[in-house]
Symmetry: C2
Subunit: 331 residues, 2 copies
């Protein structure tokens, strides 16, 4: 949220508790799911938080709804704006519609049709732009100037992070104490919220980020001790192409035990396991956390491990393992 | 369960309550899920019971587990047997393993590899046979004679029906009163259990069966007032190829308000909606109930409608809408 002079501190426990009350009427409390087969494969007890079952298909509904419903009346009237090719755009459009204010979304013209349709379906004004960060920021600047809308950043925003934190908060409440909590890292909003929720609710929990090797800016940044954005990230996990912001970097640096990076084949393998064994439709980004658990770099027998499945917005007609379908069966 | 002289009466409310306690340690209490988009499409409020998230991927775990754990010690020692190409086989194999007794499963040799693998994975003895009902029954007779195993019928069995009833019982407890309850009809075990659960818990609930037009023996049998088994059923909903038994026919005849039949395209369309909008992997049979709701034959604005999604065991590499996958994305 661009409000002059506002310093971006991490949200406090009270902010996270407020976020939870504020968004409660508008989001699902997703269940906790378990799977014996995956427990056996991982060598530990896994507790999944399936945010693919969340409103608009991803955890992003939590942060966007919190930010939109936090806006003071005098700022909200001109609506909200963001640039995003993905889940934050749909979540923000949905939250704005719930509050009855306009949403202006800048999307790269090459965004998946399913995501364009989702944003349009929530009644947002869409501005298409070239698929570069510069073009996105330029187009957003024009939109904000023209409309007076408030920019809601997808992750470099304490109110958004406070909203994302509610997923881990619920998981810790419903699953009981966890030894390890794993979430995927893109811009770092979900992982930051996960860290802060654990710090307030279960500070002994070890926090592990999961990142594609092809978009490993968080891994490199934490090793180097300074922000090193991705220059040409490349991964099937299209939700994790973004790089950390100063705010999310500072939170992850403080709380994270480590980042586990995984390869593309590991991601597809994990995604397929979630489809086949858990019967959940997840997007590649969501499978990255399970892939990290299965990579075995930190698994410990008998440990209780929480895994956040971040979303399920994937084109189901072109899944990575698809082949042509057979005809109907007779019996 | 073949026990000499035992008459097959429908299970009583007490049997269903016992089943629920008996299977509680071994099955998931699946959540209740809702979806605003599907509510808008259906014109009513839908409460889904996602039994695709059940152990072994289908409601069948409930009935098979109840039957296996009901067996007296002196009968259980020789194990259990059934013939099935699908979910009952896996559920029975799993339940037998949990009790520590053998499972003998007769499967048609053309069963999907994924289902053969699931049954084998639970440690069952598999006997393959030709893909006809006669061959299945002959092979089962030989297995039972040779091993002394107890035949657990997939649906013509009160203990199995009592187990299946627990799904609707939980749905009625968690969703509150429902005006209509819809479940798919194959052999009629799930629908029979659903009827009996509603009769005991919420007798005002109207009960609707959903059947593929290509396997509509229940529709025709209820119209004719006598059992008319399918002769050459043909549908993508491979879990619904079976025909009613005398027991399930008698229960459905007493409780069911109507059967809605749906075409193959409606089934695939509904299945796709569940994948895209609910982010759940369901098999075609599970989509039949939603297809019936969307068919509009009985939908009523503002009504509260329960829908049982029966299972999720589908070959995910050959979904009906699949096309070849693209490569990884860069950003």
């Amino acid at each position: 949220m661009v409000v002059a002079g506002r310093k971006k501190d991490p949200p406090l426990a009270a902010d996270i508790r407020s976020a939870r009350e504020r968004i409660r009427p508008y989001v699902h409390r997703t269940p906790v799911l378990t799977c014996t087969t995956l427990d056996e494969m991982a060598g530990c007890r896994l507790f999944f938080k399936p945010e693919n079952l969340q409103k608009a298909g991803a955890f992003k509904a939590r942060g966007a709804t919190n930010a939109v419903f936090c806006l003071p009346e005098e700022l909200a009237g001109h609506g909200v704006a963001t640039h995003s090719s993905g889940n934050h755009a749909a979540a923000l459009a949905r939250a704005a519609r719930l509050r009855g204010i306009p949403a202006h979304i800048v999307m790269p013209e090459n965004s998946p049709e399913v995501k364009k349709a989702a944003v349009a379906g929530y009644g947002a004004e869409i501005t298409f732009c070239a698929p570069t960060l510069q073009a996105r920021e330029d187009a957003l600047g024009e939109v904000v100037e023209k409309t007076g809308a408030v920019f809601i950043h997808p992750y470099d925003e304490p109110l958004v992070i406070a909203g994302q934190a509610t997923a881990a908060l619920e998981l810790l409440e419903d699953a009981g104490p966890l030894d390890i909590l794993v979430a995927p890292v893109g811009g770092g909003g979900l992982m930051s919220g996960t860290c802060l929720a654990a710090a307030m609710k279960a500070p002994a929990t070890r926090l592990v980020g999961a990142e594609p090797a092809g978009a490993d800016d968080a891994f490199r940044s934490l090793q180097a001790g300074r922000l090193l954005p991705s220059e040409n990230p490349r991964t099937i996990a299209d939700g994790l192409l973004t790089s950390l912001s100063p705010l999310t970097f500072s939170i992850l640096r403080k709380y994270l035990e480590c980042i586990v990076t995984v390869g593309e084949e590991d991601i597809v393998h994990a995604m397929r396991l979630v489809f086949e064994r858990m019967k959940l439709v997840v997007e590649p980004s969501a499978a990255v956390a399970l892939a990290a658990v299965l990579a075995g770099d930190f698994r410990q027998h008998g440990r209780r491990v929480g895994v956040i499945l971040s979303g399920g917005n994937v084109e189901i007609e072109s899944l990575p393992w698809c082949r042509p379908a057979p005809g109907p069966k007779s019996g």
